[in-house]
């Protein structure tokens, strides 16, 4: 009798929970799940947005491996991820460590670091187009003050990628906030104990701080990984058409162009699925590796 009542309570609980999250569930189903399924189906079709979709089997899937631009955008995106993610992580942690110090105007500095990440990405792209202007831009003007003749950032094939990486650092504020929260959660007694054991500042950073904020780092890395593989808005504004020799042409930009500029929606869907699989695989690798370097308190 008791068991039946418990089951009934559990059922009611589940039903109640589902009811509470039903607005999200409906939104997820309509705006995420159904489009994902439809895009999978469309990846096997020729569809230009005007005529009816025509089933063509695996043609798009075969075609994308033979498409040289796919390899180009994959390479660009991988290089960007390989540069932006580690640089962003190191800089984010360093910035958080600095902002965690009891310095005058601490709140102001934190706001200064966080504020740029609130700007819309398109606006950021436009701002940085001017910042990188070879003649009148702030960056080259600053370099000129120390006697360096700055490059033509946006039209030099070798400087296109570094300029996107630098642009990415503009909005590290939200990762800094996560690191700061992690830092403030590190128990003081651990620092006191390590100090008594004779540990210096570097040793405390390496053996106490970083392990203790490793869950925050893991969160930022996974979110960052997904973000860098989807980079789109700012480079799309700064490098219309992908920049010099398409060196700033990223995967999502190519998907967008295929769908909306060339109306090859079926092909764009196949490309999107490849992107999804790559991100899933990389996220899985990140999760698997986390066992070796992420430390949860009490675990």
């Amino acid at each position: 009798m008791k068991r039946t009542a418990a089951h009934s309570d559990a059922r009611d609980g589940v039903a109640c929970g589902l009811l509470w999250i039903s607005p999200w569930l409906v939104g997820f189903a309509v705006f995420v799940a159904v489009p994902i399924v439809l895009s999978g189906a469309l990846s096997f079709c020729e569809f230009d947005g005007i005529r009816r979709p025509v089933f063509i089997g695996l043609e798009h899937w075969r075609g994308l491996f033979a498409d040289p631009l796919v390899w180009k955008v994959l390479r660009n995106t991988a290089v960007y991820a390989a540069l932006a993610l580690p640089v962003g992580t190191v800089l984010g942690v360093a910035m958080a460590l600095l902002l965690n110090q009891p310095i005058p105007g601490q709140t102001l500095w934190r706001s200064v670091v966080f504020a740029p990440s609130l700007l819309p990405l398109v606006a950021v792209g436009i701002i940085w187009t001017w910042m990188f202007n070879a003649r009148f831009g702030l960056i080259n003007s600053a370099l000129a003050l120390v006697g360096i003749s700055g490059p033509t950032w946006l039209n030099d094939a070798s400087w296109a990628m570094p300029s996107v990486v630098i642009l990415g650092l503009w909005s590290i504020g939200h990762t800094v906030v996560v690191y700061l929260a992690g830092l403030q959660d590190v128990p003081r007694e651990l620092y006191e104990a390590s100090h008594l054991d004779g540990a210096g500042p570097w040793s405390r950073l390496w053996h106490v701080t970083l392990p203790m904020i490793s869950p925050a780092m893991f969160f930022n890395i996974v979110v960052g990984l997904i973000f860098v593989w989807q980079i789109f808005a700012a480079p799309y504004v700064m490098f219309p058409g992908g920049g010099p020799q398409r060196n700033a042409y990223f995967y999502t930009m190519y998907v967008y162009d295929q769908a909306f500029a060339y109306r090859r929606f079926g092909y764009a869907c196949a490309l999107s699925w490849v992107q999804l699989l790559i991100i899933l695989a990389l996220t899985a690798v990140a999760f698997r590796s986390s066992r070796h370097w992420v430390h949860y308190r009490g675990a």
Partner: protein, 500 residues
């Protein structure tokens, strides 16, 4: 409710947008029964894709702008309606009121898919000041500083040609240079710029003739705010380009108007004044191929090999690339970035290949400009025309109201008011001809007679072709690829894309 997808963005000149809003308001006052909803859609290549998405989503507006450069996809796939049934039953409407060159892109198999709104042919703009030789400048004489206020087009027309006496200071300065205008000489006002905010004339240009030579006096402000009267000998460096000039004449002009530093080294220095500017926008440079009788595609628009890589096209592209790499008359893509701004607008280039829309900026900067054809090599002058029409979508819920809207906004009076802002030439012949006494507008009207539509009128996937051409130009600039090789490889890629 009548939904109209308007092509434009807030970036467009404030004055122009306020006129557009005024026209919409007037239409709504004249048709109180119509609820007009204007939906602003950004330009810069995004308008057509957005319209296709709206078509796909079933949220198409009643009226859309049909841009010739992307029209094939709309006219070939039943996205816009044939307007002939509306035209045939409307006794007040005559297709002959519109320029054929602005209408032809919208005609297909006896159907008419759009009524011309406005258009621009691409022309060669030139900055007269860089063709003239500066003789001397004197502080602006008080007698010349007096404003020549005017308001409205008619007042401006009356002002132009008005004679004013030569001031004593200017007369003395001219005499010291051996120019004696004579006791009764007058300066003729050739151009004046009126600032609506300050309600005064802020710039002017006066012209006079002495011993058969034309001279221009320009009002110039220096950085410290002082103003001068500057006297130029017209065409003192090079003659203004004639209509229908040739490649050889163009090269002679380039030699005369470009200015290089004393010990110019191409790898180190930038020219002080380029002869002509360049940017890697495909619609802006493909007319160069036409000027030698070459083309990008075959007449059917389904093949590039034999055309893009044909001898005429190769020769034209070599001519164009020589302007960057051999003569340094035009900036490379990298040099352009180093300059940081549009060299023509900056006074660092004497010529530029653009359309009518630049008139707004040139007027605002009080540029003394002229317009001529793109130089050709052994063939009559030719250029590309970019018309835009108003079309009714097949999914329009109020097609009759939409037709009324199109008639109203393509009418002579409304079009004349739009055209006064300078953004484009009106598709309405009578409206455009109201401005024909302006030499610049006259040149644009003349250019329509030699213009042909862009390939996007025929080829649905021309955006893809343009991307391949843009990339080809980049490889020529960055890798110094051989022109013939680059054209051959690109032609093959285009063929493969068009076959798909």
């Amino acid at each position: 409710m009548l939904r109209v997808a308007n092509w434009g963005s807030p970036r467009v000149e404030e004055d122009f947008m306020s006129l557009e809003r005024q026209l919409w308001d007037e239409y709504m006052r004249a048709r109180p029964e119509v609820a007009l909803r204007i939906e602003q859609v950004p330009g810069q290549g995004l308008y057509a894709p957005k319209m296709i998405m709206m078509h796909l989503a079933g949220s198409m507006p009643d009226v859309m702008h049909l841009d010739a450069a992307y029209s094939a996809v709309f006219t070939k796939n039943g996205v816009v309606r044939d307007l002939m049934p509306f035209i045939e039953k409307d006794p007040d409407f005559r297709l002959s009121d519109y320029f054929d060159s602005a209408l032809s892109f919208a005609k297909r198999d006896g159907a008419v898919y759009a009524i011309p709104w406005d258009f621009t042919p691409m022309v060669m703009w030139y900055n007269k000041e860089l063709f003239d030789a500066e003789l001397f400048r004197i502080p602006l004489p008080a007698a010349l500083a007096g404003s020549l206020d005017y308001e409205g087009d008619d007042a401006y027309r009356e002002l132009r040609g008005r004679l004013v006496p030569v001031s004593p200071e200017l007369r003395d300065a001219l005499a010291s240079h051996g120019i004696e205008p004579g006791p009764d000489a007058r300066l003729a006002v050739e151009l004046a710029e009126f600032d609506a905010k300050s309600k005064s004339t802020v710039a002017w240009r006066w012209g006079f003739t002495h011993a058969g030579q034309e001279y221009t006096v320009r009002r110039k402000a220096s950085a410290d705010g002082t103003e001068s009267a500057v006297v130029f000998r017209d065409e003192g460096k090079a003659p203004y380009p004639r209509w229908g000039w040739t490649w050889n004449e163009f090269l002679d002009t380039c030699r005369a108007v470009s200015v290089f530093p004393a010990d110019y080294q191409p790898d180190r220095d930038l020219p002080l004044v380029y002869a002509v500017t360049f940017e890697n926008l495909v619609p802006f440079w493909t007319p160069w191929i036409w000027t030698n009788g070459g083309d990008v595609l075959n007449p059917e628009g389904d093949r590039a090999t034999g055309y893009l890589d044909g001898p005429k096209s190769v020769e034209a592209m070599r001519f164009l690339t020589d302007l960057f790499f051999k003569f340094h008359y035009a900036p490379t893509i990298l040099e352009r970035e180093r300059i940081g701004q549009d060299p023509f607008m900056n006074g660092q280039a004497a010529m530029d290949l653009k359309g009518h829309w630049m008139m707004i900026d040139y007027r605002a900067r009080r540029f003394d400009v002229g317009v001529t054809t793109i130089p050709t090599n052994g063939i009559p002058p030719v250029t590309v025309i970019f018309p835009v029409g108003l079309a009714i979508t097949t999914k329009a819920t109020h097609p009759d109201v939409a037709w009324d809207f199109i008639k109203y906004f393509t009418s002579q009076d409304v079009q004349a008011r739009r055209m006064a802002q300078g953004i484009a030439v009106s598709g309405n012949r009578a409206a455009a001809e109201r401005f024909a006494d302006d030499p610049l507008e006259q040149a644009f009207l003349r250019a329509t007679e030699i213009a042909r539509p862009p390939w996007g009128v025929v080829v649905e996937d021309y955006a893809f072709v343009e991307d391949l051409l843009r990339e080809m130009m980049e490889t020529i600039h960055y890798q110094r690829r051989d022109v013939a090789e680059a054209l051959r490889d690109t032609a093959r890629l285009i063929d493969a894309a068009l076959e798909k």
